[in-house]
């Protein structure tokens, strides 16, 4: 068969949207040209908590070009009930409703919108708004907020929160353990800061309908949300997010700029655009701060006998954001006695939010530092220690995995890295003035699958369009859709167009949680298979009916734009010939992929996770304590890899973000003023090029036909999980200094005592 050149699942296809992105043809939310567009600039609260007493707008309104100033005093009608403000990933509590009333709940809260016919006029006028407040006592100090920590009652928990399931007698086993480790770990708050700022262009069509070009990670969720919150009716709202310049979770929920833009458009009956400034990007979603206390007990040979987890993460006072922090270690390792405690602590900020691998990036990372400590305490090599406590099954839920090739990831990662060259003792490797350290950690994330629909349209000229309301937040969804379609129908990728990011398209969920490729890919495959079925019946019209007797599409091979009999590869017909013979202009089908009953049963009986083994080399200047992460090997077990090139990019990005979590990223709180202070890219640090050296990505073989229809597990998050722990553990190995608070900045490392 002529399939050697077939591009499909498994091909390292370059991003199909790459050229559009780098040439500027790809349009982002703030770039759509709309007639009679007005520009809105938000005025944000300077106090952290209190009430607005008055808003002096006179000077702002006097600025030429200013059309209006909108605030709680004159805003258009909003839904009164909180349930009408639910979004796709709502959190129990009172969702933030901009301009709802005079209450200020966090510093930087938008309190007014100045709308003008130029951006410049709006911006200047916004600076002239004078607001008087009545301040109330506030707290944004995480340590102080721990006094108020609590576990929400069942109805007030996030519905995707997984409570830890205790096993055995953890306290007793810990008390009895011959080798013990107990320590507290901390992660600083981080702000997502995708490259594209949150922005919305609301097009007012004048017939009661609006089109919202939004920077958000889904289109149909925001469509329903905006329709409900502003009483518009779902049919009247179309949301477009065709290109999204990164999200990392900050766009899982609609952000406040879209509320302001829609209110502006309704109020003025005209199109309005609102773009957040980089500074304003620090007024909403952020990864919660976390404190995590771990106690581990082990036998002298390094077999774990007890693990006790107790973590608290930050949320706002108005919503209960929760994360799965403590369950990862309980699932990952074989240990007969385990307990977990978790709580949230409210403070006067915006609600914390999901950020790349929410929960796992924090919990698994901090726990893996504790695991490293135990390895040293027990005198066991950190990799051997993990292998000694390897769990073939999900140790918390007692369920088998659909697949878990973590052992292979450990082995292949260690071999590639040269883990066997590590000397056991901390501070025992040195080159020049630099201490050298090797560290490793385990990563883990969920493999999820979400109901998603796709449409496939094959034209008479042999061109195929596949469409779904899914999103591409830089992750490669466009490319995945094209590849799956190419694979299924044997078409060249340049004959295929993928369309996404529009609420008018077939139903798809918000993009997040690493379910995009598995779910959208499955939907595209189903739709293309339906096209194939129709082609097979159309082939009956071909002269001589050469496909007679082929029993379903399983009897066909699709390649080179043709359908081919598997039982006789000499029989082939181009798809265009088949359509012409049947007199078809096009074949169009829509299919929905979703967990069926069988999948549901499987989901209850089996755990579905991706795993990784991260190995890291650091070099730390012995005197100056400046850290370099000189090598990272990340070996990932994530089922079937659709595209090794974009998959590698996903992991590279995750590793870079993990290095940032280890060394750089931190938002500083001024607890007196109640605000974040380093709200710009000069002072909020992510890794620069100079901080990034060799990163090696391995995908281990992990066939898993059960996890999702394509055998795909998803890669959006797994790259970051554990990476920061590998860095922290390597720093300990290099220096003998255990820093338990991330990021490990130079001041912390200087102050830490060496073991």
């Amino acid at each position: 068969m002529n399939t050697a050149t077939k591009i499909g699942i498994g091909s390292a296809l370059s991003r199909v949207d790459g050229a559009d992105k780098v040439t500027g043809r790809a349009k982002y939310a703030a770039e759509y040209k709309v007639d009679d567009l007005l520009y809105g600039v938000a005025v944000c609260a300077k106090i952290a908590k209190g009430k607005i007493l008055s808003i002096d707008e006179a000077d702002a309104r006097a600025v030429p070009g200013v059309v209006d100033v909108i605030s709680h005093l004159n805003r258009p009608k909003q839904a009164w009930l909180d349930r009408n403000w639910k979004d796709e990933l709502s959190i129990p509590g009172e969702p933030f409703k901009a301009f709802h009333d005079e209450t200020v709940m966090f510093a930087g809260q938008p309190v007014a919108l100045v709308v003008a016919d130029t951006f410049e006029a709006a911006r200047f006028a916004a600076s002239l708004i004078d607001i008087r407040y009545e301040e109330e006592p506030h707290n944004i100090d995480f340590a102080a907020s721990l006094d108020e920590k609590f576990m929400p009652s069942h109805l007030k928990r996030r519905n995707n929160y997984h409570p830890p399931k205790n096993r055995g007698h953890a306290q007793q086993a810990y008390d009895d353990a011959p080798v013990k480790v107990a320590a507290d770990y901390h992660l600083a708050p981080e702000h997502h800061n995708p490259m594209e700022m949150h922005a919305s262009t609301v097009e007012w069509h004048g017939d009661g309908k609006i089109t919202v070009y939004d920077k958000v990670q889904g289109s149909q969720g925001p469509q329903a949300y905006l329709a409900s919150a502003f009483g518009l009716g779902k049919k009247n709202v179309r949301v477009v997010n065709a290109f999204v310049g990164g999200g990392f979770g900050s766009g899982l929920r609609p952000q406040w700029q879209v509320q302001l833009a829609v209110m502006g458009a309704i109020h003025l009956e005209q199109s309005v655009r609102v773009v957040m400034t980089r500074q304003q990007m620090f007024t909403h979603a952020h990864r919660p701060e976390c404190t995590y206390s771990v106690r581990l007990g082990a036998e002298p040979d390094g077999k774990l006998s007890a693990m006790m987890h107790d973590a608290t993460t930050s949320t706002s006072r108005f919503e209960n954001n929760m994360e799965d922090i403590v369950i990862w270690g309980m699932m990952a390792y074989d240990c007969p006695n385990a307990s977990g405690e978790y709580a949230i602590a409210p403070r006067d900020t915006y609600t914390s939010a999901d950020m790349r691998a929410p929960g796992a990036a924090t919990g698994m990372t901090l726990f893996e530092i504790a695991m490293d400590e135990m390895a040293y305490a027990a005198g066991v090599d950190p990799l051997d220690f993990r292998l000694r406590n390897y769990s073939e099954v999900d140790a918390m839920n007692g369920t088998p995995y659909t697949s878990k090739a973590l052992r292979e990831a450990y082995q292949e990662g260690a071999a590639r890295f040269g883990w066997d060259k590590r000397s056991a003792a901390p501070r025992s490797m040195k080159e020049g003035r630099e201490l050298v350290g090797y560290g490793m950690a385990t990563g883990m994330w969920d493999a999820m699958f979400s109901k998603t629909a796709a449409r496939a349209t094959l034209s008479a000229d042999g061109k195929l369009e596949v469409a779904s309301a899914s999103s591409d937040i830089g992750t490669g969804t466009y490319t995945v859709m094209v590849q799956v379609a190419a694979d299924t129908l044997g078409l060249s990728p340049d004959r295929i167009t993928a369309t996404l990011g529009d609420s008018d398209l077939p139903e798809a969920p918000v993009e997040g949680g690493s379910w995009g490729a598995a779910s959208t890919g499955a939907a595209v495959q189903l739709a293309c298979q339906s096209v194939a079925k129709k082609l097979l019946s159309a082939a009956g019209k071909l002269d001589g009916d050469p496909f007679h007797g082929v029993n379903g599409i399983e009897g066909l091979e699709f390649a080179d734009g043709a359908m081919i009999r598997r039982d006789n590869p000499d029989v082939r017909a181009s798809l265009t010939d088949v359509m012409a013979a049947a007199g078809l202009d096009k074949i169009e089908v829509e299919e929905t992929a979703g967990p069926g009953i069988g999948d549901m049963i499987s989901m209850a009986r089996k755990s579905r996770n991706t795993h990784s083994a991260v190995f890291c080399e650091v070099r730390v200047d012995e005197e100056l304590n400046q850290v370099r992460v000189t090598r990272v090997v990340n070996a990932v077990a994530a089922g079937r890899i659709i595209n090794p090139k974009t998959a590698r990019s996903q992991i590279l990005g995750g590793v870079v973000m993990g290095i940032g979590m280890a060394l750089h990223e931190e938002t500083f709180a001024d607890t007196t003023l109640g605000r974040w202070m380093n709200h710009n890219f000069a002072e909020y640090h992510v890794p620069a090029h100079a901080d990034i050296h060799d990163i090696d990505v391995i995908f281990v073989d992990e066939p898993d036909p059960e996890v999702t229809p394509l055998g795909v597990k998803g890669l959006g998050e797994i790259g970051i999980v554990g990476t920061a722990a590998a860095v922290a553990n390597a720093i300990y190995h290099a220096t003998g200094k255990r820093v338990r608070s991330l990021p490990i900045t130079i001041d912390k490392l200087l102050d830490a005592p060496a073991d």
Partner: protein, 337 residues
Amino acid sequence: MIRFDYQRPDATAEAVAAGRGEHAAYLAGGTNLVDLMKENVARPLQVVDINRLPLKAIEARENGGLRLGALASNADTAYHEEVQARYPLLASAILAGASPQLRNAATNGGNLNQRTRCYYFYDTDTPCNKRNPGEGCGAIGGVNRIHAILGASDQCIATHPSDMCVALAALEAEVQVSGPDGDRTIPFADYHRLPGDEPWRDNTLRPGELVTAIDLPAEGFASNCTYLKLRDRLSYAFALVSVAVAMKLEDGEIAEARVALGGVAHKPWRVPEAEQLLRGERPGEDAFRAVAEALLKGAVGQGENDFKIGLARRAIVRALAQAAAGTPQSQTDKRIA
């Protein structure tokens, strides 16, 4: 943006005449001023664009020194043959700062006049005596891990963010200025000032004065120098602590040494008595440690930045060792040597 008058004169005298108003600002590369205007921190009513003035040249001086035009870009200066050969300390310090794009736009005069990166100075919703005299200082008792450990006052603990200026301080450059009362020369040590009770004044320029050139003396300390910068990431971050060392060795003994610190004070920090300690000494860690102690005499932390004192001590010792060995810190190696 606040409406302002914009002028783009061709001659220096014209520019100085236009720049004498109380609310005037000179615009060169704009890498700092434009940011500050966007943030509503700088609100000039007259912007005098000086990019057409004939101040771009880098040329030899009669005394053997080199004149750096105020409008020569940081990049053109750092990569200039004469600068690379004779003043590697200056080239290195420039290349330690910002990013290639910023260095292409930023000018030498502008580098001297850039404002502090204090978080509070940039956030108009917080108090800052430098931005709004009398308003108070948010950084004292606030978020201050990047702030000053030397020469601060109870009104301001901001630092000067320049790398280039730390090298210029060590090289003892002179600043040529032109103003309403004529031209004058300001020794580099007198150019920037400590905050005292007038923290809004970063330097000793008089109203309307314009930097026209920076003069480097003939001695460039090319054989024994280094610029060592420690920061929160390995590129594109302001210094937590930086050290410029210019040294002369004769027969294995230190004939002269100059040490300037960046990231620790409202101006590049030098202590002549500390430098004197090295005169006639052989390079060695004990001698270097004594210099560090003397340089950091009186250093006080603000809480979050206490670590800078210890870090500066280590950095000074390392930088002196690098200079003495003739192995200056590379700015492209992605590592501290």
